[in-house]
């Protein structure tokens, strides 16, 4: 495990290119392209007009767009031709969101107040408009094969979903959804089923076929705060729905009924569950070596806690909006074997569920609240950060905590994997660094560990 030098970063915007070869990290008003394969770190530097607020790679990793919402500007850069550039100005309509279409030749800009979505083409001069986009949590979703765009719309106080063909932006289907206030839509990875869920005030999941037929609706309970997070398994077989009652419900793809329910109790008594507890290592050599190394955060390690274990819980303020309860984060491992969840009122713990046995497998309890976790796209390996200067890795073989080197405290607030899974970008408030997991002999540390145990 090697760490790169630390680069400056603003707005915690750090994106790996889809092929995993490059990493873009915007400085204050310049875009930094870092190669993840060669060890010559900085590859390219593009200077933008203003502070970059959003960065996105095109699907073919050839272009990169930088959005400057304050100015209503989008700038596009080409990696192959550094002199090529494109600038899109939304003018007085304003800009709140910008994204690539899956073919990497169109840019979808959402204007202020969600008046419309402008589709700019890089191939032709043509511009398309889509009216009535809905301002919601996740209103735009492309199918994984890049063929279709599903868009949440709101007209006359009713929710609609429009499905567009991405090749020519033709409307394929348009149907209304039976929702109070649609909160999000998401394609299944196989691109044939669209999941739509209602606002948090109501627990409702709707499943639509590609041709607009309603396949199923699912409602677990009424009169209480509903869905908080939704995730498809990569095999399209499961739909995991995390809700405010602290449970994850798994729907199956045949009957669309609930397969099982994963509660997140603060007390774990099942002896089959392994509970890893992060513990601070007692400082070694306090006598032998007088404060030679600069004072740094204490190192930590994992200990296996004997069940029953009770986890630290947070009492949420019930009278505030967005209470810190419920399952706020869900992620399936790339092989669909594991599901990692976080219950927001047990902020220090990550639950890992075994999707084959449909039961709790491992619980990781950190010393600090879990900020973010993400699966390695190549293997069941989970990276977790909790706002400290450590990054944590879990795999079925075991888990470990790694201190991020460098002077000063590098507080890891977020992390992301490239598609190759051999590196890890760690983001702090205004810096980022790369963590290379591949060692010289080709086997990474955790892999070795896995072989032993």
């Amino acid at each position: 495990m090697n760490f790169s030098e630390v680069f400056k970063l603003s707005n915690q915007l750090c994106k790996f290119s889809p092929d995993g070869k490059y990493l873009s990290g915007p400085g204050v008003s310049a875009l930094l392209i870092v190669s993840t394969t060669t060890h010559v770190p900085i590859l390219q530097l593009y200077s933008c007009l203003d502070q970059i607020q959003h960065v996105e790679w095109s699907a073919d990793s050839l272009f990169i767009l930088c959005a400057m919402y304050k100015r209503g500007l989008v700038q596009v850069w080409s990696l192959e031709q550094p002199e090529w550039h494109c600038r899109i100005d939304e003018g007085s309509a304003g800009l709140v969101a910008s994204c690539w279409s899956p073919d990497g030749r169109h840019i979808l800009n959402t204007t202020e107040f969600h008046l419309r979505i402008t589709v700019w083409s890089l191939c032709t001069k043509s511009v398309s408009y889509i009216k009535y986009p809905k301002a919601c949590q996740q209103g735009i979703t492309f199918s994984r094969d890049g063929r279709y765009l599903a868009l949440a719309e709101r007209r006359d106080c009713k929710d609609y979903v429009s499905i567009f063909v991405c090749s020519d932006w033709q409307l394929l289907r348009h149907f209304d959804t039976d929702t109070q206030d649609l909160a999000g839509i998401e394609w299944a990875p196989n691109g044939c089923v669209l999941a739509a869920w209602d606002t948090c005030l109501e627990y409702k999941v709707l499943l639509y076929s590609l041709d607009g037929r309603l396949l199923a609706t699912y409602c677990a309970y009424e009169w209480s705060l509903g869905i908080k997070s939704v995730a498809w398994s990569p095999s399209s077989q499961f739909l995991a729905v995390g809700s405010y009652d602290g449970k994850v419900r798994i729907l199956n793809h045949v009957t669309w009924k609930m397969l099982t329910e994963f509660g997140h109790p603060a007390a774990i008594s099942d002896p089959r569950v392994v509970v890893y507890k992060e513990a601070e290592k007692s400082p070694r050599g306090a006598l032998g070596r007088p404060a030679c190394p600069p004072p740094r955060a204490a190192e930590s390690k994992y200990e296996i806690a004997a069940v029953p274990v009770s986890l630290q819980t947070l009492k949420p303020a019930a009278d505030r909006a967005n209470p810190k309860i419920g399952v706020g984060a869900l992620a399936f491992s790339p092989d669909s074997y594991f599901l990692a969840t976080r219950n927001d009122n047990v902020p220090n713990a990550v639950w890992v569920w075994d999707m084959q046995k449909l039961r709790l497998f491992v619980v990781l309890e950190q010393l600090g609240p879990v900020r973010s976790f993400q699966w390695d796209p190549q293997q069941p390996r989970l990276a977790i950060c909790s706002g400290g200067s450590k990054v944590y890795l879990w795999s079925p073989a075991g888990c470990m905590s790694v201190q991020v080197p460098g002077e000063g405290d590098f507080q890891v607030l977020s992390l992301c994997w490239p598609v190759t899974g051999d590196a890890l970008a760690l983001l702090s408030k205004d810096h980022f660094c790369l963590c290379f997991l591949e060692t010289e002999d080709g086997a990474d540390a955790l892999g070795q560990l896995g072989d032993h145990t």
């Binding site: 090697n2 760490f3 002199e83 090529w84 494109c86 600038r87 899109i88 100005d89 939304e90 003018g91 007085s92 309509a93 073919d103 030749r105 204007t111 107040f113 008046l115 419309r116 083409s121 890089l122 191939c123 001069k125 043509s126 511009v127 709101r154 106080c157 020519d168 033709q170 394929l172 206030d181 196989n190 044939c192 590609l210 041709d211 009169w223 095999s235 077989q237 793809h253 397969l259 099982t260 392994v274 390690k301 994992y302 296996i304 999707m355 084959q356 046995k357 449909l358 079925p396 075991g398 470990m400 790694v402 201190q403 991020v404 080197p405 540390a445 070795q448 560990l449 032993h452 145990t453």
Partner: protein, 612 residues
């Protein structure tokens, strides 16, 4: 009556008097009042009988007295005291004989009466005590009744209170329910109101948006523009196509194609899954038939009506169609038949397995107990024999020693003889020494023999245990061999369906942590060995090194069985570049440690047992 009694009384001994006094005291009747007075007065006068009698009869009134007595006696049915008078006028003579007879009779009667009285009194006493007892019983019962009554009242009170509470709770529940209902209504109304408001707001918002849209979009905003250095080609290299009805149709087609593909894929999945399942089912059935039909012929025939038909059904039907074709038929036609036959056979199998289980457990129990007992008995007998021998030897040695001592003592006694015998003594001493060493050797031999025997016994026990295990495993293996299906096939169905989560569970548990098995087995054997050694009676002279080495041999094998990394997984932590790694291992490795721990513990146990 009382008069009469007292009159005859004084002639009797003083004890009777006492008794009468006592009885009269206990049972005071109004008629005996007089007698008591007489008695009281008679006690001091008892010495002077005459003076007492004078009170009744004096010289003057003999005649009257006699006549009075005669009268009295005749009224009581005694013969007259007077002789039969010849003449009426003549004075009748006192018949002495009659008087004496009467007196005797009276005395006899008196005695009888006294006896009767005594009896009556004792009875009375008894009755009195009975009465007392009953009274106390009565009192007790009354008390009990009182307490129970009180208790009952208390319970009733409590019951009442509880009922009251219950009623209150019911009321509360009802209130709560009402409250919930009310709140739900409120929520519903709020929700509708909220929705209404939202809609209103949204409409306004929409209006504003529309307005804004017009304002912003119709102004021909010059700023809205795109500057591109040069247009890039499409990713697929094609040119953009016009939007026509044709393209629309093409899109539709494509969409349906995708959907169809998906459905086809799913159907294929299901088909393969079904085929696998059918295969498994078929195989299972075949196995069952082959397993059950030859050896279970008898029980099947016994239960011919219920179970035998299952097999015969299947045996007959495939005669018409070949087996394979049956399986390729759609489920509808075969399903019922198939499930029925499987179910029946499964039942047979289940009963068979249960029977086998019973048998095995019985055999196991019996065999184990019998052999164990026998070996122990043998062992005990042998040790007893050996101990006896040792005892004998010791005695012999003792006597020898005594003799020697005596000889020495006598030698000491008189110096002259000692001097004389001195020459002999040396010789004798030598001889004795030789004898002594011989005895020692003998003793050693005995001990050795004994040791070897204990060893043999232990070995025997171990062997027996191993054999028992082997037999059990063989039986199990045989049974499993008859029923196993090729798991590889089922493993191929990796594309687990929605239901595979539950159905594959068992399969997967085996795959996920296969390494745990050997530990468990080895642990088990370890425990067994330790138990065996423990079961042997510890004797003081047994050198335990042998058994210990035996056990440790076992354990060393166990240790070898696990991969060497297992034993110290917690140390594994690479130091890469300049950062520290802290590693927590998963429980599998911990179990490795655990097994080690258990080994050491058993070892220590053995040692403890072995030490005298």
């Amino acid at each position: 009556m009382g008069d009469w009694m007292t009159v005859t009384d004084p002639g009797l001994c003083s004890e009777s008097k006492n008794i009468s006094q006592y009885t009269s005291e206990t049972k005071m009747s109004p008629s005996s009042l007089y007698s008591q007075q007489v008695l009281c007065s008679s006690i001091p006068l008892s010495k002077n009988v005459h003076s007492f009698f004078s009170a009744f009869c004096t010289e003057e009134n003999i005649e009257q007295s006699i006549s009075y007595l005669d009268q009295e006696l005749t009224t009581f049915g005694f013969p007259s005291l007077y002789e039969e008078s010849k003449g009426k006028e003549t004075k009748r003579e006192l018949n002495i004989v009659a008087v004496l007879n009467c007196m005797n009779e009276l005395l006899v009667r008196q005695r009888k009466n006294l006896l009767a009285q005594e009896n009556v009194e004792t009875q009375n006493l008894k009755l009195g005590s009975d009465m007392d007892h009953l009274q106390s019983c009565y009192a007790k019962l009354k008390e009990q009744l009182e307490t129970s009554r009180r208790e009952m009242i208390g319970l009733q009170e409590r019951d009442r209170q509880l009922q009251c509470k219950n009623r209150n709770l019911h009321q509360l529940l009802k209130n709560e329910k009402d409250e919930v209902q009310k709140l739900q209504n409120i929520i519903a109304s709020r929700a509708t109101q909220y929705n209404h408001d939202m809609k209103r707001k949204e409409r306004e918002y929409n209006k504003l948006k529309e307005r804004l849209h017009q304002l912003v979009m119709n102004k021909k905003d010059k700023k809205i523009a795109m500057e591109v250095l040069n247009y890039v080609g499409r990713a697929d290299g094609k040119r953009g196509s016009w939007r026509t009805g044709k393209s629309e149709a093409r899109n539709e087609d494509e969409m349906y194609k995708i959907l169809l593909n998906d459905y086809e894929y799913r159907q294929k999945q299901i088909l393969t899954e079904n085929a696998e399942l059918k295969k498994v089912l078929q195989q299972m059935k075949k196995e069952m038939i082959s397993l059950l039909s030859p050896q279970k012929q008898k029980p099947v025939e016994k239960a011919d009506d219920s179970t035998g038909t299952g097999i015969s059904d299947v045996e007959e039907d495939p005669g018409e169609l070949s087996r394979e074709s049956i399986w390729d038929l759609s489920c509808e036609t075969v399903r019922e038949q198939l499930t029925n036959s499987i179910r029946k056979q499964w039942r047979i199998l289940k009963s068979h397995v249960e029977k086998l289980d019973n048998q095995v457990s019985k055999v196991h129990l019996e065999g184990f107990n019998d052999e164990d007992v026998i070996s122990r008995q043998d062992h005990e007998e042998e040790t007893e024999k050996l101990e006896l021998e040792i005892q004998q030897c010791k005695e012999m040695i003792k006597t020898q020693q005594q003799l020697l001592q005596q000889q020495l003592a006598t030698a000491c006694d008189d110096d002259t003889t000692s001097l004389l015998r001195d020459c002999y003594l040396l010789e004798e001493k030598e001889r004795l020494k030789e004898e002594w060493s011989l005895f020692k050797e003998q003793k050693k031999n005995f001990e050795k023999e004994r040791q070897s025997f204990t060893e043999a016994a232990i070995r025997l026990g171990l062997e027996r245990k191993a054999f028992e295990e082997e037999r059990a495993s063989w039986l199990k293996q045989q049974f499993l061999n008859m029923t196993t299906f090729d798991h590889q096939n089922s493993e191929n169905v990796r594309l687990f369906s929605a239901f595979s989560g539950s159905s594959d569970r068992d399969n997967l548990t085996v795959h996920s942590r296969p390494r745990q098995k050997p530990y468990r087995v080895s642990n088990g054997s370890l425990v067994c060995t330790s138990k065996l050694t423990k079961s042997l009676p510890a004797s003081p002279t047994t050198d335990f090194c042998q058994t210990r080495s035996c056990v440790s041999e076992h354990s060393s094998i166990n240790v070898l069985n696990m991969p060497p990394e297992e034993t110290r997984p917690n140390q594994v932590g690479g130091e890469c570049a300049n950062q520290k790694w802290s590693v927590a291992s998963r429980p599998g490795s911990q179990e490795g440690c655990c097994s080690e721990c258990s080994w050491t513990s058993t070892n220590s146990h053995v040692e403890k047992d072995g030490l005298p």
